[in-house]
Symmetry: C2
Subunit: 292 residues, 2 copies
């Protein structure tokens, strides 16, 4: 089992790292889109196990559009013309605010709800659970993942930033695994995830700190900033990991799927990555704005 797990990682890791480093942002967007669709599929499957039937196809279409817009948002040129003023020229007319994707999602979901709710055999068409699980899929799975694309689209330093996010999550998880096994005693969330310990969680944060120190010179960002953002992203990552355990616990299953040999489903594999992306994006967005 552990051998299968390592083998799968050994095959996927170079592909992901190579794609992020050499690939253009549209390729990263395509990969993230594929990951998001698989994760959404598993999320809807979990929902169905507790009787929440949503609109997976419409949600998937809006998720793909969301990721497209995050790609488009990176295709913008900015010139500084002095005096704190920026001139922005959009590279294409395809860029719409992400909020518009949500508005269209809501209107479309309402139309689908009415189409189904008219049926006499299911008056109301289970509309509350349906809009609930569909909205949650878009907000809790697709939206956070889409920030990985936005990060990659940051001009010049984008690929480095995305590799930083991947490295801090993977290093944290790996260190947590070995330290937790070696010296872990205090259970962190015995109900949700019995194997997790506070010692492992602390090692997880330390693993991310190490990555911050290692990446500081390469990223040309102050080490202090990197330590803060790595800590925040790591905690968000662990929250995402536990939240996914709660989904599975709530649905009464052990793995979200069986897609990746030795790793369970896609949602299992990316759970600690999901929330790290938006945290890093928000942090650097604020710093970059502050430096205006």
């Amino acid at each position: 089992m552990t051998f299968t797990r390592v083998l799968t990682a050994a095959v996927l890791l170079p592909i992901v790292v190579g794609g992020v480093w050499w690939g253009p942002t549209w390729l990263v967007a395509a990969l993230v889109g594929l990951v998001a669709l698989l994760a959404l599929y598993e999320f809807f499957r979990l929902g169905e196990r507790v009787g929440l039937r949503g609109y997976p196809r419409w949600t998937a279409a809006c998720a793909a559009w969301l990721i497209f817009e995050q790609w488009a948002a990176g295709q913008v040129e900015t010139w500084r013309i002095g005096g704190g003023l920026n001139v922005v020229r959009a590279a294409g007319s395809a860029i719409v605010p992400l909020e518009l994707v949500f508005v269209v999602f809501v209107l479309g979901a309402a139309a689908i709800a009415l189409g189904r709710g008219r049926a006499p055999e299911a008056p109301g068409g289970e509309v509350l659970p349906a809009v609930g699980i569909s909205g949650a899929g878009l907000l809790f799975v697709a939206l956070p993942l889409s920030y990985l694309v936005r990060l990659h689209g940051v001009d010049r330093s984008g690929p480095k930033l995305l590799l930083f996010v991947l490295a801090l999550v993977w290093a944290g998880d790996t260190l947590a695994y070995f330290v937790g096994r070696a010296i872990g005693r205090l259970p962190m969330a015995p109900v949700l995830s019995p194997k997790k310990t506070w010692e492992g969680a602390a090692a997880n944060v330390i693993g991310s700190f190490l990555v911050a120190v290692l990446f500081a010179r390469w990223l040309e960002i102050e080490t202090l900033h990197l330590l803060v953002v790595a800590g925040l992203a790591n905690v968000a990552g662990q929250v995402g990991d536990l939240l996914e355990s709660a989904y599975k616990r709530s649905a009464g299953v052990k793995d979200s799927g069986a897609l990746l040999p030795g790793h369970g489903g896609m949602l299992d594999r990316i759970d600690s990555l999901i929330f790290a992306g938006p945290v890093v994006w928000c942090y650097f967005g604020m710093i970059l704005r502050g430096r205006g």
Copy 2:
């Protein structure tokens, strides 16, 4: 009953119209915020009736923030400097993209979910229904309503645009009521809303067209544009109305609440307004962009 209904409307109508016309956008934001919180409260009550328990306080806090940001987005000055370039200066540093509100909502909801999901008596903490109904409240109730604030914030013509939205919805609903009673025969959605007829729905659209013609000169917008946007907003409004019927049908209740004498709850009163706002905003946003 009808007398109570008319009396309630006669008291509220001048307050709303006066507030929109003479009031500053922050007052409109406060009113819309109050309406959104009451509507959210009713939405969560409906959800609880089908076993979906969410995080109403956290969702309400994020809804209020969303409405604040829609107010802030209107406090921006734009100068045109020729050649298709715009220089934008934000009036305050409080403006963040709406998407950020969603990201923070997701992270906060995840933290709450873990706090509850750790309890041994409810492993997983019903996390899937909880994030579902909470996300749906933010997306399907608070987000669309917040566009009423954004519309009011459009410089100079904002109050006119918002009165146009209110008038087209109210005129449509009123004409639909009388025409439906007089000549309505073909039921539109017998399961969801037995009293609605196709004749009433057609009269609803015609009522909005009349408002578009009446408002054309005052708004200084081409009548053709107003007819198109009034038609689209009216259909979206009727979709919202039916969707709310589906919520109630799904929850097995007749009214969403008993707040407004003769009108039922807040959600009952604003159901045909909810989706009209974002449609008008998106339409004029596209026109204004096209005219660049």
